[in-house]
Amino acid sequence: MADRTLQQILTQLKTRGPSLSYADSLALLSKAKLTLLQLHALTPSSSTPAHLLPLARETYEQGALASIRAHDPDAFTHYVQRLQPFYELPADVLPPNAPERNKVTGLYLLLLLTEGRYAEFHSELESLACRDSGGDETDRYLGYPIRLERWLMEGSYDRVWKAIQSREVPCEEYGVFSEILTSQIRSEIASSSERAYPSLPLSSTKSLLFLDSEGAVVEFAQHRGWVVRDGHIYFPDPAEAGDDESGRQQKEVSKMIIENTLGYARQLETIV
């Protein structure tokens, strides 16, 4: 009986998922979780009836997607952690549902990527490598964040931009991150342009930074503290700013040498 209510809630979540408001889906989800608790299926154990396991897993998956749609990374991470024990169950106890699993994992990877948690991103990647079913970049959901990370690392920002814009985005939940990624690559490009170019014409900066109009370029330039003059952008000279800093560094170098030499002397004394 209780599992029938659960089933109903789930179908409701699945069919109307994207159109539901976050508050509505939250209410449904908490009801589903309460039912799970009553059925003792909140976490998988050996005593959990087998037919409840897929239901529990689906509840969490829906919860994860809902929290992503609502831009709530903490709730999403929570659901991902909840799902982990379900995913590690053997296939004969709980038949795996690879597309959904990959979707959630892909979203999690993307979240880690946009938050700059590269260490965790790669740890997660490592565990994908030993997953037996389609844990690869050929997968539609998993390949997306993996490719993005590679392009970001080598600096092919135009490809990242294209990937975000085009229909390569596997599903709408992934689109949530596009905005964050755009601003991320824009600031990356800006900081490398500061070093790489002596000056840039306004017109081409527009395409360089993937901005819509020259007005937006000027606004962005002011935001970064760049000087706009005769249709060109001039970057503040990093050498000027770092002048007194280099003097301090020089002092640090000599101090370090003295320190090291004293250290050697002390060590030698203990040895001899």
């Binding site: 260490a119 037996d132 080598e154 092919s156 490398s192 170019y197 014409p201 050697y264």
Partner: protein, 582 residues
């Protein structure tokens, strides 16, 4: 011997010569009745005394007493008499009991370690009959110890052999192993069998079960043995229990769903290992602690639970004075974790230490190959090019071949070559667990390519860069070059309107602080090495008191000390002369 030798230089070879003479005699006597194969193994046992002797005379870190050496020689003598390989192996096994007895009596773990080391000498000859024979000979038919012995016998399927066929003392190995006079040692049966011997036999059974691939039985037996070790709680068991857990975990790894799958039995022994770790820490049991930490790390990494492994490292402290091999393993796993987490500098440090600490003998070739592979990839990821001599080591040359090609591609900065190598050797890399790391190298290849071009051309168009590096488009090339400039890979500027990259003049390296830093790094390594060698010196506990008891021994010791002082004086005189001159 003292006084005859004018200098310490002349002393060592002479002493060795004397001992060698004895040994050679013994060997000759034996080899008459033996086959060639076994002879080579015998040689290994025989070689042991001279090295000990030389250490002794040079006052080295392991001052083994003479008694020790004679005991070994006794053992060798026993072997010389026997021809039957079964009886001989049994005798060898029992020879180790003497070591264990001493370990308990002197409270010195070195003797147990030596007993464990000797397993490898007769490992190939182990079979259920030999082990059963050893058990039956050792245990008297008493109720208390009989139970333990019964368990051991069941484990190798020889449960119907009667116990207590002969005495328990190892001093009468000759009589016992010939098994003709079963009543001989009856008077000594009062003596309790120490648990160390019990566990040692257990380890032998583990070794045998592992070698004969009976993993399921091995795992069950190991579980029993681990429980027993846990309940005994004796400090002298420490190094033995470390071994017990080692084989326990090894058995689990071999069982049906193998590691990458989350249902593997390795997952289910984690609680046991963690409990063992906790107990080991509380009991200050360094051997078990070190070995269990290493096992747990291996366990987590085998199922790619990197985060858990990282947490384990951050919440435990690896014992400082653990056995060298465990330290090497620990450093390897730590390096692996750090490499996955993109902390390459730390990973490099740990892996370099691991390769240096790895035993250089051929038996550890697998470990050093694995470590070197990972180290090479990490070096590449850091932007360094490994030295060519690494690939020339004869033991590693073949194993490192794919990595050699990889390094070449990265060094030249050829993206095309790089991708074909990855495609060709994907399976090898996957097996080595370096595949995901190698995929990260792509950006390094590009960076090297850009650097090469910036060095060779003072001005080059973005189109050419794009073509040479086989990048997707000119825009990509522009962004990539800009990023390289920002990351400090090259010194150059870009001209967007005319679409080229202009290189700046390269400064003098010796004007920077880099040489100084490299120098400092090396000095620090030398100093650390010195400190560690000082720490590694050993001073056995209560050794002096024991000597006082034995007057004969003490006199000998005194003579030796006098000799050493004499040598020392000589040395000091030599040195003193120099100092006077100054």
């Amino acid at each position: 011997m003292p006084g005859k030798t004018p200098s310490s230089n002349g002393n060592e070879p002479l002493e060795n010569g004397v001992r060698n003479g004895q040994d050679v005699e013994m060997k000759d006597g034996k080899s008459k009745g033996k086959k060639g194969v076994k002879d080579s193994e015998e040689e290994m046992t025989v070689v042991v005394p001279p090295t000990k002797g030389s250490k002794q005379s040079s006052g080295g870190p392991t001052p083994d007493t003479d008694e020790d050496t004679t005991m070994d020689e006794d053992k060798v003598n026993d072997e010389a008499v026997k021809v039957d390989p079964v009886a001989q192996t049994v005798a060898e096994i029992k020879g180790n009991f003497a070591l264990l007895d001493r370990a308990v009596a002197l409270f010195d773990a070195r003797f147990s370690l030596r007993a464990l080391r000797s397993i490898s000498l007769f490992r190939k000859r182990l079979d259920p009959d030999i082990i059963a024979q050893a058990i039956v000979d050792t245990f008297p038919a008493m109720v208390t110890s009989g139970l333990a012995a019964k368990q051991l016998l069941i484990a190798i399927g020889r449960e119907n052999m009667p116990l207590g066929r002969s005495g328990s003392s190892e001093m009468e190995v000759d009589n016992e192993s010939s098994a003709k006079t079963p009543k001989n040692g009856a008077t000594k049966e009062v003596k309790e069998i120490i648990p160390e011997i019990d566990i040692f036999l257990g380890i032998l059974i583990q070794v045998y079960l592992f070698d004969s691939k009976q993993f399921q039985r091995g795992a069950e037996f190991s579980k029993y043995l681990a429980d027993r070790v846990q309940s005994l709680n004796r400090r002298t068991l420490d190094s033995l229990s470390a071994k017990v857990y080692f084989y326990y975990s090894l058995f689990c790894e071999q069982l049906a769903p193998q590691p990458p799958s989350p249902q593997s039995p390795v997952v289910s022994i984690r609680p046991t290992l963690l409990a063992a770790l906790r107990t080991a820490v509380l009991r200050k049991d360094i051997d078990t602690q070190a070995s269990v930490i290493v096992l747990l790390l291996r366990n987590y990494l085998s199922t790619s639970h990197i985060t858990q492994a990282d947490l384990l490292v951050s919440h435990t402290q690896f014992p400082e004075n653990a056995v060298n091999n465990q330290v090497a393993r620990f450093l390897y796993y730590l390096g692996r974790i750090r490499a996955i987490q993109l902390r390459y500098t730390e990973a490099h440090e740990h892996l370099t230490a691991a390769t240096r600490k790895a035993p250089s003998s051929a038996c550890a070739a697998g470990f050093s190959a694995t470590t070197t592979k990972l180290l090479l990839v990490v070096e590449l990821l850091m932007g360094d090019i490994p030295e060519r001599s690494t690939f020339r080591q004869p033991t590693l040359e073949l194993a490192l071949q794919p990595y050699f090609l990889l390094v070449q591609a990265v060094r030249i900065g050829n993206l095309g070559d790089f991708e074909t190598i990855i495609a060709d050797h994907a399976d090898t890399f996957r097996r080595d667990g370096t595949y995901t790391l190698i995929l990260r190298l792509r950006q390094n290849v590009i960076k090297t390519g850009i650097r090469m071009m910036s060095l060779s051309y003072s001005r080059i168009s973005l189109r050419d860069i794009c073509i040479r590096l086989r990048l997707g488009s000119e825009e990509s090339a522009e962004y990539i070059v800009a990023k390289a400039i920002r990351d400090g890979v090259i010194e150059a500027t870009l001209d967007r309107e005319r679409g080229f990259m202009k290189s700046k003049e390269v400064g003098d390296v010796y004007a920077t602080r880099e040489p100084g830093e490299a120098f400092h790094e090396r000095i620090r390594a030398c100093l650390a090495l010195h400190d560690e060698s000082v720490k590694a010196m050993r001073f056995p506990m209560n050794q002096h008191r024991l000597e006082l008891k034995n007057a004969q021994e003490a006199r000998e010791r005194e003579r030796e000390m006098a000799k050493e002082i004499q040598e020392g004086d000589l040395d000091e005189d030599d040195l003193g002369g120099d100092f006077d001159g100054m």
